[in-house]
Symmetry: C2
Subunit: 781 residues, 2 copies
């Protein structure tokens, strides 16, 4: 059916009133938006303040488009439209969406087009595009130029589907290992998050040859990181210094360097004030202090929560008015029934009118700036040549190779050559995450489809031959409610896996969290991670640890691969007995094959942790950049105090920035000095270091620079990342790296003011945040 409609739609130029200034592409988006605003009725204005994010839903490959439900929403909320999350494939979706867009243009009085808004984490949020790994994976590459290529590819695939506005990047900081959304985040360090997010925004918002932004971005969620209990929507204690110094740096950088066109407010009540009504943080802080100029939108259903959950609104109207007054300019409400539609009864209130006008003007400006009034709808041909094009797949392979982090490799147990594998016998690839692509919630729902590339298991089978690979899932399924029956099933499954391991000479055990029992129709009921989930136990869900223990008890050499957006504390008995340990994070379609390349030494691992792995179930927070007083447990016995039983310190060994390689790098000739620009007389810190590959194979290393001032007005972290660069070094080769850090970047906020200390500083240069991997240099600034 979709295919038959196609010829009617393609190549159609918009039919719009040529007398209106807003139709004049030679004018700027601001002028055009202002002109169009004046022509709108009150109802038409309110209509632009909402939309239909999930225009149609589908299950098991069949598009379900409910015309009457759609129309009911469309009449009142018609600013944007979205595909939502789809089981359908791209080729089916595009013609239908094009038809809906044409209908809207033709049916609306002033022919105002939709703009398509979409989530975009692993690429497209439905099938048919290149499936990139999750955000935590790509950040683990620490490779910004490669990430730029990924975002270019993702951007072009989104545009090929008509998507010109994405609900990314997510710059929330990983502060609580329980939070089931951690895999959607770049990591625990605000500088690293800011670097990746800024790269994302610049790349998505690149302008085309006509000066239109390719894809508008939405930096989010302002502000989140420390929700109570590791829960996505939960409250935060607030505090301006905390917000500005610990959570806001990615916003600060992105706003200064990349101007994201929009921003999403978080669900959290910060210091009791839900962000959707938090005028202080949205205006005084975000706009006045951080300089944000773009459009602020709600998170999905957030305005309704003011009434039903937070109870800080007395009615739907009250909620709408408060959110508008606080600074929200657009409402996301996937299911329709948006609360901003209540504003339609407030046309007599001049404060509301002024705010609505400002909101609609800002919203239309994005539509003009992205060419929605001027560009043709996307064609099937372009879609076919863009989605999954060979270059995109190659980019995907490249970033995936660098996103897997090797945490242990006893006595160079890896890589295995094909000859020592055949000597050992077969390989048992076991565990519930062995034969699945565990890509995260904001990935397409049909990852069980074989067109999506290979799991760990199928990658091993393809490369080494099916006959050489044994497999068992090892646990029956990962149940949220674990009962006696499940336990019996698990015991049987573990016994079966142990038999396979004994038959093989080597075990690769793939454990994790994310998907549940892998049935797509129950995906939300049986999963353990993502939005809405928090891990009250940081261990592997279900009987996975028992499976691993049983495998290790066999004495067969074992490699552990973690698959998840979460981190898992590894008991000593696990860490010591596994010959090699990896974290593969949230998978893209090449995660399995990349791992097999690493296993065989065809790829040298170069990923680095962007989050510190806790050492014990409740030993958190563990971010490397803790405050010194957070590590002082008691009676002044120094850093070694802290969590006192068992004896743990904040400096967990599997720390931020850590990751192993098959070669060895040496950092030497570290020089740190203050330099002054002759022209501007601005001062900066000049850092030079030499990185040598003293091992036998080529590899990539991430040189990292950390710092702290010896004195500050408010307490500051023990160290903070300030620069990093990934570089490839051949054996016996040396590379000299230079960093230049303007002094102003060393500052921090005190009650909203930016302060830069003069005096004694320490800088550390090296290959992880662990003191043993760093060289310390003192400097007076």
């Amino acid at each position: 059916m979709a295919a038959r409609l196609l010829p009617i739609l393609l190549g159609v130029t918009f039919c719009i009133n040529v007398n209106a200034n807003y139709t004049d592409p030679s004018l700027g988006p601001g002028q055009r938006s202002q002109d169009l605003l004046q022509r709108l009725t009150w109802e038409e204005k309110i209509g632009q303040m909402g939309g239909i994010r999930a225009a149609f839903t589908s299950v098991n490959g069949t598009v379900r488009f409910n015309r009457s439900a759609f129309e009911e929403i469309r009449l009142k909320e018609n600013g944007q439209i979205g595909y939502g999350r789809q089981a359908n494939w791209a080729a089916e979706l595009l013609p239908i969406m094009n038809r809906l867009r044409m209908e809207q243009i033709n049916s609306s009085r002033l022919h105002i087009p939709y703009i398509i808004i979409a989530d975009s984490v692993n690429g497209l949020w439905f099938s048919g595009g290149t499936l990139f790994p999750g955000t935590s994976s790509m950040a683990s590459s620490w490779n910004l130029p490669l990430y730029e290529q990924v975002i270019q590819a993702s951007r072009d695939e989104n545009m090929a589907m008509g998507i010109n506005w994405v609900l990314s990047p997510e710059v929330d900081i990983v502060k609580d290992p329980r939070n089931g959304r951690n895999g959607e985040m770049y990591g625990e360090d605000s500088y690293l998050v800011g670097e990746f997010a800024t790269k994302y925004i610049k790349t998505m918002q690149e302008k085309d040859e006509r000066g239109f932004y390719k894809v508008a971005t939405t930096i989010k969620h302002f502000v989140f990181g420390t929700g109570s209990g590791g829960i996505n929507r939960a409250s935060m204690a607030g505090g301006l210094n905390h917000i500005l110094n610990d959570l806001a740096p990615p916003y600060q950088k992105a706003i200064k360097e990349a101007q994201p066109l929009s921003l999403m407010a978080s669900y959290s009540a910060v210091d009791g004030v839900p962000m959707s009504v938090n005028k202080y943080l949205l205006q005084n802080v975000l706009q006045d202090i951080l300089g944000f100029k773009g459009l602020i939108m709600s998170d999905a259903n957030a305005i309704e929560l003011l009434l039903n959950t937070h109870k800080v609104a007395s009615s739907r109207k009250d909620a709408a008015r408060k959110a508008l007054s606080a600074g929200l300019k657009h409402e996301l409400k996937p299911g329709g029934g948006g609360l901003f539609t209540e504003l339609s009864s407030m046309s007599g209130d001049k404060d509301v009118v002024a705010l609505v006008d400002a909101s609609v003007r800002a919203f239309l400006e994005i539509k003009f700036a992205t060419g929605m009034f001027d560009l043709p709808l996307p064609t099937i041909e372009n879609m076919q040549s863009t989605l999954r094009n060979p270059r995109h797949l190659e980019i995907n392979k490249n970033i995936t190779r660098e996103s897997i982090v090797m945490l242990k490799n006893d006595d160079e147990f890896l890589p295995r050559t094909k000859s020592n594998i055949s000597a050992t016998g077969k390989i048992a690839v076991v565990g519930p995450y062995a034969d699945v692509i565990n890509a995260g919630n904001y990935a397409p729902v049909v990852l069980y489809d074989p067109r999506y590339g290979d799991s760990f298991l199928s990658s091993f089978q393809k490369v080494l031959g099916k006959d050489n690979i044994l497999h068992a899932q090892g646990t029956s399924k990962i149940l949220p409610n674990y009962d006696d029956d499940a336990q019996q099933q698990d015991e049987a499954a573990i016994a079966a896996a142990v038999e396979k391991v004994k038959e093989a000479g080597l075990a690769v055990v793939i454990l994790g969290s994310g998907l549940g029992n892998f049935m797509p129709n129950t995906i939300n009921n049986d999963r353990t991670d993502t939005e809405g989930w928090s891990h009250p136990d940081l261990g592997f869900p279900g009987a996975q640890q028992q499976l691993l223990d049983a495998v290790l008890d066999t004495g067969v050499p074992t490699i552990l691969v973690m698959s998840s957006g979460q981190t898992f504390p590894l008991p000593n008995s696990t860490f010591n007995r596994c010959r090699a340990i990896f974290h593969s994070w949230l998978a893209g379609e090449y995660t399995g094959s990349s791992f097999v390349e690493i296993f065989l030494g065809e790829t040298n691992p170069s990923g680095k942790l962007t989050v510190t792995i806790p050492e014990h179930n409740g030993a958190f927070p563990v971010n490397y950049d803790f405050l010194p007083s957070d590590a002082g447990g008691g009676f002044g016995t120094s850093l070694a105090y802290d969590w006192h039983w068992p004896q743990l310190t904040r400096k967990a060994p599997l720390a931020f920035g850590f990751g192993l390689s098959y070669t060895t790098f040496s950092v030497s000739s570290v020089n740190v000095s203050v330099s002054t620009n002759a022209a501007s007389s601005n001062q900066s810190v000049a850092i030079q270091a030499t990185v040598s590959n003293v091992g036998n194979v080529s590899g990539k290393e991430v040189l990292q620079v950390y710092f702290r001032a010896n004195y500050s007005i408010i307490e500051r972290p023990v160290m903070k990342l300030i620069r990093f660069e990934k570089l490839e070094v051949d054996p016996a080769e040396k590379k000299i790296i230079n960093f230049d850090i303007p002094i102003d970047e060393l500052g921090y906020f005190v009650t909203g003011d930016w302060v830069v200390e003069r005096g004694n500083y320490a800088f550390w240069v090296g290959t992880s945040s662990r003191y043993e991997d760093l060289r310390r240099v003192e400097l007076v600034i």
Copy 2:
């Protein structure tokens, strides 16, 4: 030696300059303090700003008094003196302290006496007094009149030792179950904490017949509750609404109703600003908003931490000056070398001079107000008749009986009569906490001394006969570093305990945390709780859970008693298989005997939880008064969302206010209405309810009232305690309880302003914070 000095000291009247106004007892403390201040040299002023909190230390019963070390401190820091924590007994200590006090009076130019400052949690901080249970225990009684008797007794014992200033009450709120100091706190609810703390202050600060305060109090630690990682000294995120609404209510109430003479700042950096330099919180919030007028002191060594840990001071002088400017007026530094001594070089700085004058005036005022210049030193005779006098011991028994909380009692398994015990056979009293008095850190160090009353084990032996009681410790010891050797020892110890249990017909298993391997000389190295300790695992330390599982596996009916200031999540297999479960908190000398009374039905348990017990290791915070949005995990599926795996909600069943009795109470005829005072026209909420004992034995119940407004400006908790009363009801008896709650008490702070909502409210009246134990009434105010 001490005894020989005694006659010289006793009865000596102070020799002071009679020409000075400050010596005139008819003048008020303010006038006398001002007069004395004018006579002091700069060095003498600085001397009053510090002291010697631990004048001498002793180990294993031998006083160690180092004269030269003492003199070195005394010359510069001589405002107060303290016993410190002692292994010595009271009768040995008093003569020595009296001598030091007399020396000070005689050797100082203006004959300014010391005041003795002491920690006082379980009563005296050294041996010889009545050993009351810990704060968490006494709060669990919910019995304010009884608590008042305890504090009267504790006050009189302190005074008998010359102690006129205590470093209590601790009004920190239990927010993180990992925090090893939770046992020192009253509980998780700010209203309950405020009630107990206010009672404490009023009772300690009662005036004698001459108008002198008996004992000055120190409300502390302003402000603490949510330190990162559950660590005592760690940072807090801050936020004014959070601080004022969640943490400050006990201060608000105590300041308004009981005027504590002093307050201790917490160690925490709040929003990056350590409390010792937090002028905003100490002045704008504590003084301006909360109205505190007393003296603010540092926590022990806190000013030094500004330099060495927080690094917000550039030198000792800088630290001293900043702390003074922020509002600190006195320094606690037990080991000497206080940073306020640095002020001696700043006599030319008029800001410092003004602040020092204000500080010394405030400090001297407390000395005058407590009679230090006018009252004789305490006598040995008074000490002998006061400490452990029969009335104090009786009060101690009474509060202990009410402080044990019964959490489960399957099919009225308890009480056991002596006849059904002999039918069953012997009783095995096992576990590492069976034969110890686990009283907490701020109890005397020599609790192994048999003069301290009875453990659980010895109580059972005394009442039921040694021959009827079997015992095994069941685990070797509780090690911070658990290695293979310890595991083997534990396995043997568990096996031995299981044999005892099998031989007996009934097992009482006493598990917990606090003391380590019970060797006094390593008490700080081997314990798991108190200041400086945080539990990264909420389970029972060491192999205790394995011991319990092994006992339960025998099938012998088992009673579990928890002994600790901490809470422990109970796995289903524990909860379901134990026939009865208790929490005994931090023990006083009668905890064992009280438990045996309960076991035999001679005492009907009436304790109620003041903290909610988490359901899983990482499922926290669990306070009953969470914000509604903290329970909303994800996609709007209501309160049942939350921690999603395993399925847990914030409403844990072993909730705040819950505790069982041997009888059954019924709450009926609940009436809630608004009443107006005819004279003042002030409105209040009048609540009436009837409590009936529908069981067979007399018992005590705690009637509890909770409330929330249906709408508020900022997000407010799902419910808040607003009144409670403990009452005794005989079988078939009914009691009618009335509460009157001024409307103003229903308010909350918004950015420092007190707001009281008008509109719809819900009130709940019943016997715990669990919805099933409450009756809900709607009310329009």
